[in-house]
């Protein structure tokens, strides 16, 4: 096909989708859910930090601990985001294409002088912009609240780590957005598409880890306290299988970013630790450590988006 200059259809659709999301009830409900759980976990974390500081004097990276500390009852902030984030992405995309079908607006919109892909691109970009705006607002609000609660401002290093955390979270949620747009292209019914999205979410958030354990145990049987090499091999396989899940990738990425003392992901041999100096990783090294995870998330997002793009371009338009 001949390449033509875009008449701005993409920008118009992106703007409309963004406006729809930002003013819609869906976003308000999910924002509320994430904000309430976030504030609760933040408060608990601040309490924990106070008592820890009281016992041990000064501790490093106090500000980051706001996001990762927990009292053992309520999970930390990052766990909530990794659990509820997918829901945000799914909610914004599950009826992206099927909704246009159901409202019978698809053929009317596509009869306007826009390229067909502008619609699906605009839906994705509009959703992405809404997610980014929402998370940035939440991020600033949580940061401000944390500042009030513990009274210690973040250092430059902490700030960079938090910015990276925000960026990775946006990528993580856009993966779920792309997945839900894919489902909305495959399934004509919005309810089916929503259900498929929720099924995928529950599978990855809850069962994927358990299944990875089972599969690894079946592939490389190793008794506890048995052959160390077998145990190591089993652990390797379990880790690689669980890394097929975007939830695992995200959890590894953000806990590494927000916990500078994490120096390696996966099993570490005693001989590797022997003689190692105690200390924390500089930000550059932490970023290097999570780079594969981030690339994995981006790849998943791109794959889902590409699949829905191709499906949509081949789809018959008739209502």
């Amino acid at each position: 096909m001949r390449k033509q200059t875009s008449p701005g259809g993409l920008a118009v659709i992106t703007r409309k989708e963004f406006a729809d999301h930002v003013s819609g009830w869906r976003m308000i409900i999910l924002m509320g859910l994430v904000a309430v759980t976030g504030v609760a976990s933040l408060y608990v974390a601040a309490q924990t930090i106070r008592s820890a500081v009281g016992e041990a004097g000064t501790i490093d990276f106090v500000f980051l601990r706001l996001f990762t500390a927990s009292d053992g009852k309520l999970p930390p902030f990052i766990s909530f985001v990794s659990f509820l984030g997918p829901l945000v992405g799914l909610a914004l995309g599950f009826d992206a294409v099927s909704g246009e079908h159901a409202r019978r607006t698809l053929s009317r919109v596509l009869a306007q002088p826009i390229h067909r892909d502008a619609l699906v691109n605009g839906k994705f970009l509009g959703g992405l912009a809404a997610v980014a705006a929402m998370l940035s607002a939440l991020w600033l609000a949580v940061g401000a609240l944390g500042l009030v609660l513990i009274g210690v401002p973040p250092t430059a290093d902490e700030f960079v780590r938090l910015a990276a955390f925000l960026a990775v979270t946006v990528i993580y949620i856009s993966f779920w957005l792309a997945l839900s747009i894919l489902f909305s292209t495959v399934f004509r019914q919005a309810a089916t598409s929503a259900l498929a999205g929720i099924a995928a979410w529950l599978f990855f958030a809850i069962f994927a880890d358990l299944l990875a354990d089972l599969a690894a145990a079946a592939l490389v049987p190793a008794a506890a306290g048995g052959n160390p090499e077998a145990i190591f091999a089993q652990e390797q396989i379990r880790l690689w299988l669980s890394r097929l899940s975007p939830v695992t990738l995200y959890s590894e990425a953000v806990s590494t970013l927000l916990t500078p003392s994490i120096r390696a992901l996966g099993p570490v041999m005693v001989e590797q630790i022997l003689g190692a100096l105690q200390g924390v990783l500089p930000i550059g090294q932490s970023l290097l450590l999570v780079w594969p995870q981030v690339v994995g998330l981006i790849t998943g997002t791109a794959a889902c988006f590409a699949a829905s793009y191709i499906l949509f371009m081949r789809r018959e338009i008739r209502a």
Binding site: P7, R103, L110, I317
Partner: protein
């Protein structure tokens, strides 16, 4: 009809879905300012044809030109000059009617002040100016249909394609809608109208094409089609006189071209209503003869050359083909 510039042209247009041939070698020419009716039952390939004309579906083979442009190669140019009102059009329910039109205008790249002017004009024209600021979700079917036409008019198209525009409208709404369509054609806009409602098509279309299972089996003016297809078909004439007139039935039976005369209500010897079967148009002679015999003619109706008959004829023919 305006000047005879062809605006829509197709030749050998085919669209197959697997084994099913939805459109089979369609050759169609529609000229500027013409109202062309695509007529046929559901599933005859009308909507597929429309989608191919707009470049929303790729033809399997054949050639399409819309104002000289190829919709598969230059879809944007074609869509810029073509307004399409789909069958049972939908709007974004949570937006007002006016906002829906603004969105369309923005997609067409019309600058804001110009868009506002065009939207006001289009809403005025379809008769929705007061309700335009209500949410589209509250609109009735008729209002949606009118908003759909306004949506088409906002881009000031050269060609308008209407897919079953009057289905589900009340008779008055349908009449208003068709009147508006006719007005647009008078302004030089080419209108392609798809429908299975014969009377409406007959009323406003300059020419019609009859679709049966993907093929256009006939195309032309309604009158010409009647001449062509129903040449061997008898005219049927129904007359009503004020009071029974003895001997009238026999008299009329003697007229040249009248094959038979019978009473419409089954009365022996002829009552007030008579039914004639004729091989040619004998209305004038019948009227004259009734008067000569001192009767008063109240009603005279000729049937057998309407689109209904033509249509029924095709489907009867088709069913017979299927049996054979």
């Amino acid at each position: 009809m305006g000047s005879a510039t062809p605006v829509i042209e197709t030749s050998g247009l085919v669209r197959r879905y697997g084994d099913l041939t939805a459109v089979d070698h369609l050759d169609l020419t529609v000229c500027q300012g013409e109202i062309f009716g695509l007529l046929g039952p559901n599933g005859a390939g009308k909507t597929t044809t429309i989608l191919m004309l707009l470049g929303l579906t790729e033809p399997t083979e054949g050639r399409v030109r819309i104002a000289g442009l190829d919709p598969s190669r230059q879809p944007l140019e074609v869509k810029r000059i073509t307004g399409y009102l789909p069958d049972n059009v939908g709007f974004y329910d949570e937006m007002t009617g006016r906002d829906n039109l603004r969105y369309t205008a923005a997609l067409n790249g019309i600058p804001r002040p110009e868009a506002e002017r065009r939207i006001a004009k289009a809403l005025q024209r379809v008769g929705l100016p007061e309700t335009a600021d209500r949410k589209a979700g509250t609109y009735s079917h008729g209002m949606r249909q009118r908003l759909g036409l306004a949506d088409v008019l906002v881009k000031e198209p050269r060609i308008i394609v209407l897919d079953e525009p009057t289905v589900g409208l009340d008779p008055e709404g349908a009449r208003d809608f068709l009147e508006l369509t006719r007005e647009l054609a008078r302004e030089g806009i080419t209108v392609l109208l798809s429908s299975h409602l014969l009377h409406q098509v007959q009323e406003i279309c300059d020419r019609v094409g009859i679709f049966v299972s993907g093929r256009m089996v006939a195309c032309g003016r309604v009158h010409d089609l009647a001449e062509q297809i129903l040449a061997d078909e008898q005219f049927r004439l129904l007359i009503e006189i004020q009071a029974p007139l003895p001997g009238l039935a026999t008299e009329l039976g003697r007229l040249d071209g009248v094959a038979s005369v019978e009473d419409a209500d089954g009365e022996e010897g002829g009552g007030r209503r008579l039914r004639l079967a004729c091989s040619r148009d004998v209305r004038a002679e019948v009227g004259l003869r009734v008067q000569e015999l001192g009767g008063i003619l109240l009603h005279l109706e000729q049937s057998g050359r309407s689109l209904d008959e033509i249509y029924a004829r095709y489907f009867r023919g088709k069913e017979m083909d299927n049996v054979a």
